[in-house]
């Protein structure tokens, strides 16, 4: 069983291939170049290095949000093209759940937090048994509101994600439960953690056709928000 994983939800562009329970290749760049320029050349290099015939993969897992709107769409559109050409199913993985899987050995509440701009974070809390259990529902909210939920949950928390450098002071000031930050090198999105999350879903048959793939932005567009504020 082979799975291809892709995450383009943030600054990181990442592609990986897992065969059964072994990661056989991963290519991750955390660099300012746009995903539009990097993603496909990375996939090309990875498949060449692995001498991988893409038609032998069983499914494509992709981070479907929250995250950068444009980044998410580049990934989703690319996955839809791959799914159509290869006639393979896709697996939708929450960006936050995928990110949490990079710390899936932790006994704490793993709390991925992304910088959502406009003084908000995209965040959630997960506990790991054999698989991730979402114990604090993913949402776009103010960091204060998220920390309040972490405090209310009452267990030791582990924070990771690109929201950490942005909200570190708030966390240190507001968090009343014991907390720590993820270790270096496992604190950003990666396609291998998307695949860790995808493995279980593949086994359970949680597959979709490429055309059914939907992004979960957790936020409406600015135009829709302003229209709603006017009561239209």
């Amino acid at each position: 069983m082979k799975l291809l994983g892709i995450d383009t939800s943030g600054m990181v562009a990442s592609v990986a291939v897992m065969e059964d329970d072994i990661l056989i290749g991963e290519y991750t760049l955390n660099y300012k170049k746009t995903h539009s320029q990097t993603l496909m050349p990375m996939l090309d290099e990875l498949t060449k290095a692995l001498e991988l015939d893409l038609s032998t993969i069983d499914a494509i897992a992709v981070a479907v949000g929250p995250g950068s709107f444009t980044g998410l769409r580049i990934g989703a559109a690319a996955v839809k093209g791959l799914a159509m050409a290869l006639d393979k199913p896709v697996i939708e993985i929450s960006t936050l759940e995928g990110l949490a899987y990079s710390c899936c050995e932790s006994e704490k509440v793993v709390c991925p937090i992304l910088d959502a701009r406009r003084k908000q974070t995209y965040a959630a809390g997960y506990e790991f048994d054999t698989v991730a259990k979402e114990v604090i529902a993913q949402d776009a909210l103010a960091i204060e509101d998220f920390i309040e939920k972490v405090n209310a949950y009452g267990k030791n928390a582990l924070f990771l994600g690109d929201g950490v450098p942005v909200f570190k002071e708030d966390i240190e000031k507001l968090c009343t439960v014991p907390f720590s930050f993820a270790k270096p090198g496992q604190n950003r999105q990666s396609a291998s953690s998307v695949l860790r999350a995808a493995k279980d879903k593949f086994d359970k048959g949680e597959l979709k056709q490429g055309d059914e793939l939907r992004l979960n932005y957790l936020r409406v567009s600015q135009a829709e928000r302003e229209r709603a504020e006017k009561g239209l």
């Binding site: 746009t34 539009s36 320029q37 990097t38 993603l39 496909m40 050349p41 996939l43 090309d44 893409l54 709107f69 444009t70 769409r73 580049i74 990934g75 989703a76 559109a77 690319a78 996955v79 839809k80 093209g81 791959l82 799914a83 159509m84 050409a85 290869l86 490429g210 055309d211 793939l213 939907r214 992004l215 932005y217 567009s221 600015q222 135009a223 829709e224 229209r227 239209l232």
Partner: protein
């Protein structure tokens, strides 16, 4: 051996795909328009457009293939619009086309959106071949282009500010017709008095073939303000008729001047505004006076579509202008740039 090109277009608010044979024969033409959604906002909202494109792109491409009774393996190349246009919408088509090309090992060719509009003329006019002169008028573009050869374009003039279609939309909004302004304004103009108001025909100093429509738009807005201040009744139909006359008059005048100077053997019009009946009539008259044939696409091929992208892509394919996997969306791509 015929060449089949799959064309993909997502530069604005239409998700479109089509299969075209040898750059001229349409095998399918699928357009998923988002106009209903954007009408709520009085214009295209790029973020909403981008979201809709990514939702619909697979279905649209799939239908284009099945309508053409094709599978991917019958396709010789995938053509995609990479500019100009809205960056978010463009990126959806470009990203999808790149991965489809990569995984299916079908070559990818990059297409300029305006060149696509021009090439829409090859579909229904089998005898049309370069060189010819073409006026491209749409919501985002107003270009007077000498088409020397397939893939060889010379821009004689373009708008310095608003595109012609943009001016239609803005004026339509000002007189309460709503979005999209072009068709609604054209309809209102049918019942208007063409002599009621005299709007200026803007000329651009030092550049015979360039256009400027923002002055005309301001003149319309000023006229409405003055009427309101003096309690004079504003007649939307009259404004529509006189504004449309002013825009189409400038476009026709420029076309005529360019025909007289460059002496092309044919003249064509392209782009969304090319479906405007008043403009078509005027251009027909100009061409009759100059004694050259006038070519125009059917309205369905004037709007953004995948057919025109496949038609233009055919010439890119024949010239072996293939795109790499790092192809990016170029929102301000210039005509003739490769």
């Amino acid at each position: 051996m015929s060449v089949k090109i799959l064309g993909i277009e997502s530069s604005c608010d239409e998700t479109a795909a089509s299969v075209v044979e040898d750059g001229r024969l349409v095998l399918s033409n699928v357009i998923s328009s988002q106009i209903d959604i954007h009408t709520l906002y009085g214009g295209v909202v790029p973020e909403i457009a981008s979201r809709k494109h990514v939702e619909r792109i697979s279905q649209v491409v799939d239908k284009a293939l099945s309508d053409a009774k094709c599978s991917l393996s019958d396709i010789d190349a995938i053509a995609v619009t990479y500019g100009p246009g809205l960056v978010g919408p463009l990126l959806v088509g470009v990203s999808f086309a790149k991965s489809l090309s990569f995984a299916s090992k079908i070559p990818l060719v990059p297409v300029h959106h305006i060149e696509g509009h021009i090439c829409a003329n090859f579909i229904e006019n089998k005898e049309l071949e370069p060189p010819f002169l073409c006026l491209v008028v749409s919501g985002g573009h107003t270009h007077l282009v000498m088409v020397h050869d397939y893939r060889d374009y010379e821009v004689l003039g373009k708008t310095r500010d608003d595109a012609a279609g943009e001016a239609f939309d803005k004026v339509a909004r000002a007189i309460g017709l709503g979005y999209p302004g072009g068709p609604k304004l054209e309809k209102a103009a049918l019942n208007g008095n063409h002599e009621a108001i005299e709007f200026p025909k803007a000329k651009v100093a030092g550049s015979v073939y360039d256009f400027s429509f923002s002055g005309l738009k301001s003149a319309v807005l000023n006229y409405i303000n003055q009427c309101n201040m003096q309690n004079i009744e504003v007649v939307p139909e009259d404004i529509a008729a006189c504004f449309q006359d002013a825009v189409t008059g400038v476009l026709a005048d420029h076309a005529k001047a360019a025909i007289e100077e460059y002496k092309p053997k044919a003249f064509a019009v392209a782009g969304g505004v090319a479906s405007n009946g008043a403009l078509r009539d005027r251009l027909q008259k100009v061409c009759d006076e100059c004694g050259i044939p006038f070519y125009k696409p059917s309205p369905i091929l004037c709007t953004d579509n995948g057919v025109m992208i496949a038609a233009a892509g055919y010439h890119e394919y024949m010239a072996k202008n293939f795109a790499g996997l790092d192809l990016n969306a170029v929102p301000a791509l210039k005509l003739g740039e490769r």
